[in-house]
């Protein structure tokens, strides 16, 4: 195998690689042994602690499933509300009118610069001071509000990038056949941009799902992560087992979403019907636009 860093390996390099492999295996085995030893010493590997998850469904039904439902609920509402808002601001930033473009840009940049957690805490306090929602609904509202404010601004950037990836000829052609600006946007640019944006939107959903966990940790919104405390209290402080299972659930959910996003991206890149423009998610989680000016995205790496 050859790459920018190394050529196809000869016999000496192959021998050296085998040596590195052996050293790596030894180091990894030492770490695994150290972890195993530490866990066994504190009795965290005893069958009693893991039994609730593997024998019977009570732990799943009582703790994990309700938490999981709340996680999905918050993420779903956040996406549904943030999408149109984001589209509005994304298109607003592309406006020809300065008085639309500039405020839109300020709002988007402002909410992208603030941590989601801060927005959630503020929203929670605002709801408890100015409304008389019952606590359960209030927490859901607070979590969703925080997620919407942040993700709408990120989605605005995705929408903007999606429209900017389209070839200039599309706008020119629309103008040539006498379409107005609104018509160009609605009938020519948006439909193409939406397909180009799909993978990035699905990837953003992963960020939203991950951020719902903030609500559980700081506001005690009863989502998946928050189910760890009652669960480990109920099954004899099996903290390690609980965290492992909960992390695996998050992992499975997000991995499915990530795979779906990259499948979509590959499919759209291959597709012949569209212009082939895709707003993908870059390796660092930042937006990567193909055939458009590069954008500064700091999302994806959010909590």
């Amino acid at each position: 195998m050859s790459s920018v860093l190394y050529d196809t390996q000869g016999p000496r390099a192959k021998r050296r690689n085998i040596l590195y492999t052996v050293l790596f295996v030894l180091a990894a085995a030492a770490v695994v042994w150290w972890v195993y030893d530490g866990l066994a010493e504190k009795h965290q590997l005893d069958w009693v602690k893991w039994k609730p998850f593997f024998a019977g469904t009570q732990a799943w039904e009582t703790f994990i499933w309700p938490g999981f439902q709340n996680t999905i609920k918050a993420a779903f509402f956040a996406l549904i509300i943030a999408l149109p808002l984001g589209a509005l601001f994304g298109i607003g930033r592309l406006s020809d009118h300065r008085w639309v473009r500039v405020p839109g840009g300020v709002v988007v940049e402002f909410f992208r610069a603030i941590p989601v957690l801060l927005l959630m805490i503020i929203a929670n306090q605002a709801y408890s001071e100015y409304t008389d929602l019952d606590p359960d609904t209030r927490l859901l509202y607070a979590v969703v509000t925080g997620l919407v404010l942040y993700n709408a601004s990120v989605l605005a950037e995705i929408v903007r990038a999606g429209i900017l990836t389209l070839p200039r000829g599309q706008t020119d052609a629309a103008k040539a056949i006498g379409m107005r600006k609104g018509q160009t946007m609605v009938f020519v640019l948006l439909p193409q941009a939406v397909t180009a944006m799909l993978p990035a939107i699905v990837s953003q959903l992963v960020v939203i799902v991950k951020d719902t966990a903030l609500g559980g940790a700081v506001l005690s919104f009863p989502e998946l992560l928050a189910s760890v405390r009652p669960m480990s209290a109920n099954y004899g402080s099996n903290t390690i087992a609980c965290f492992t299972i909960v992390a695996l659930v998050y992992l499975a959910l997000n991995f499915a979403l990530t795979s779906f996003a990259s499948w979509l991206e590959r499919r759209l890149r291959r597709g012949k019907k569209s212009t082939g423009a895709v707003v993908g998610t870059g390796p660092g989680g930042e937006l990567e636009t193909i055939g458009a000016p590069s954008l500064n995205m700091d999302d994806g790496t959010a909590a």
Binding site: L5, V25, P115, V206, N296
Partner: protein
């Protein structure tokens, strides 16, 4: 108007945020570079490990990692990271969690930087008879580092914002103080405004300066 600030150590809280960011940034830069090295190495096993690490860690919420550091590592396994008072322990656990999480993004940023260097560059260098270290030192890394500035600055900004999650395990940084203040003072708008501004001040210049640097050093292709 600003007398609600009396009795609260606003600068101190933001100073903790800055310290968390700096220590975590250094740690994740080191661990992330090591991971990137493994991820592009010719040894299949190391490549597999680094790929698996990145894919697993990126798909788990940071909040889960940081709560695990506190409840799992410290409370259950008694790992205190060489600190004795609870404040120091929580701070170190938070930094550890941030390093574990952020390193996966650093790794991907560096790898993408290396990938931007066309293979032809290295092939030409090899054809000239340069050795492996020479290819790396003179041809590949200088180009890779320059295209890595922008993604790394995005990771740094995200890290700055992510440090607020440390309040979940009781590290007294900015969001921790904010929560305390808005619960005790009847000045919701002003207090949130002050803290929001604090984060804008922390993240905006980082983005502008590093964005400028990235443009300045970018490799024109």
């Amino acid at each position: 108007m600003f007398d609600f600030l009396d009795g609260y150590d606003l600068l101190g809280a933001f100073w903790v945020t800055v310290k968390l960011t700096v220590f975590s940034a250094l740690g994740s830069l080191i661990w992330g570079t090591l991971l990137a090295g493994m991820r592009v190495s010719p040894v299949p096993l190391m490549r597999g490990f680094a790929t698996a690490y990145v894919n697993v860690v990126r798909n788990i919420p940071l909040t889960v990692i940081i709560m695990f550091a506190s409840l799992g590592l410290y409370s259950t396994l008694g790992i205190a990271l060489g600190s004795t008072d609870i404040k120091g322990i929580n701070f170190r656990l938070a930094v550890l969690a941030f390093v574990v999480y952020t390193a996966s993004f650093v790794c991907e940023a560096i790898r993408s930087g290396i990938n931007t260097v066309p293979v032809g560059q290295a092939e030409a260098a090899r054809a000239l008879g340069l050795s492996f270290t020479q290819v790396l030192r003179l041809i590949v890394l200088p180009q890779a580092f320059r295209s890595v500035v922008n993604p790394l600055s995005n990771v740094l900004i995200a890290l700055t914002k992510n440090t607020t999650v440390a309040s979940a395990i009781g590290v007294a940084e900015a969001s921790y103080l904010m929560k305390e203040m808005i619960e005790n003072e009847a000045q919701l708008l002003l207090i949130s405004g002050v803290f929001a501004l604090g984060f804008v001040i922390l993240t905006l210049p980082t983005g502008l300066i590093l964005g400028w640097v990235a443009k300045k050093v970018a490799v024109k292709r």
